[in-house]
């Protein structure tokens, strides 16, 4: 386990902020490598929980996860170090781009690099999916839920993820209550 100084936290998240392409999910793979495999600050299961927390709270996944992991390592100042780290790369890059807007959007070589990255990061998303999937059992209910998440977000992208999660949570809690009541009844008998 790598010592978690503020500086270490900052650098880790700076790295993650710098390589966040493809809308957040690809960075999960980079985070997994950094925090689960290398630094051993968390396990793959907590990673999945972090994702669930992040998706049911406002704000981008990058910020949510930085704040959360930073806090777990070094309380509030750890959060500050992590969030600052994950934000700064975009911050500098965007200011740079704002200054050279024309040059950036018309430079064919930059665009070619970025087109390549866009095609490649898809692999990272599948990797993250594959390794996180090991945390859940292959049961009928899990497969159905995964299919619901997959098809709704692919074919009805306008359907807000937060509603999907809230509805799922509600049914899960109701299902849990019914199941528990069933068990209590058995106990009584």
């Amino acid at each position: 386990m790598v010592k978690n100084t503020y500086f270490n936290i900052f650098i880790s998240f700076f790295k993650i902020g710098l390589f966040t392409f493809g809308g957040g999910y690809a960075m999960m793979r980079v985070m997994e490598k950094e925090f689960v495999d290398n630094k051993k600050w968390m396990d793959s299961k907590s990673m999945l929980e972090l994702l669930a927390i992040s998706q049911s709270t406002p704000g981008p996944f990058a910020i949510n996860s930085a704040t959360y992991i930073g806090y777990q390592q070094k309380k509030v100042w750890g959060s500050v170090a992590a969030t600052l780290g994950v934000v700064l790369p975009s911050f500098f890059l965007i200011i740079l781009i704002s200054i050279f807007l024309e040059a950036f959007s018309t430079n064919v070589y930059i665009q070619n690099v970025l087109k390549g990255i866009n095609a490649g990061v898809a692999v990272l998303i599948f990797q993250a999916w594959f390794s996180l999937s090991k945390n859940i059992g292959v049961t009928a209910i899990n497969i159905i839920l995964m299919a619901i998440g997959f098809f709704i977000s692919l074919f009805i992208p306008s359907f807000s993820v937060i509603y999907l999660i809230l509805i799922t949570a509600m049914f899960a809690i109701i299902y849990g209550l019914i199941r528990n009541r069933g068990q209590v009844d058995v106990d009584v008998n």
Binding site: A52, P60, Y71, S98, A119, S160
Partner: protein, 190 residues
Amino acid sequence: MSMLIELVKLFLIFFKVGLFTFGGGYAMIPLIRNEVVGAGYLSLMQVDQFIGIAESTPGPFAINIATFVGYNSYGVFGSILATLGVVLPSFIIIISIAIFSAKILKAKPVQNALSWINPLTLGLILSAGVSVVINAIFGGMDGLVAFDADYIGLTIFGVILLLSLFVKKINPIILILLSGILGLIGYSIF
């Protein structure tokens, strides 16, 4: 004085964006577009042009556009203020959750909810992967139906996929850098 009011307004608009954008990624674009265009910071065309740029720069979209709008309107100070505004809501909410997370996560109803949300979330990740493939390689659903592939993109995807399968321990950052290099070579030559 009016300058101060303008800066507070900029901060508040991005605070609102940070507070009301769930799910991250591109789901938040309509709300951001309304706020930024409504407040007169950018025209609709400028926002759409920026979306194109943001798609190809690292970092969350909300942060990128906050920095961009802040810089365009009030220079570096404006960009700091707007970025702070968009970050603060998540920061405050997540810290409050993190403080109680050990207790919250162990509560029975939360455990029940998570046991269903986790597979659902995995479905969302899978769909994100598939839609990146569809958009980056086929240029959208229509391209997929017609199998009108960008063969250079498809090749890059294939090479990176094979590499990730055979060299399991490979650092994802290496894969991103390699994709960029392959893009530079592939698209510049062919």
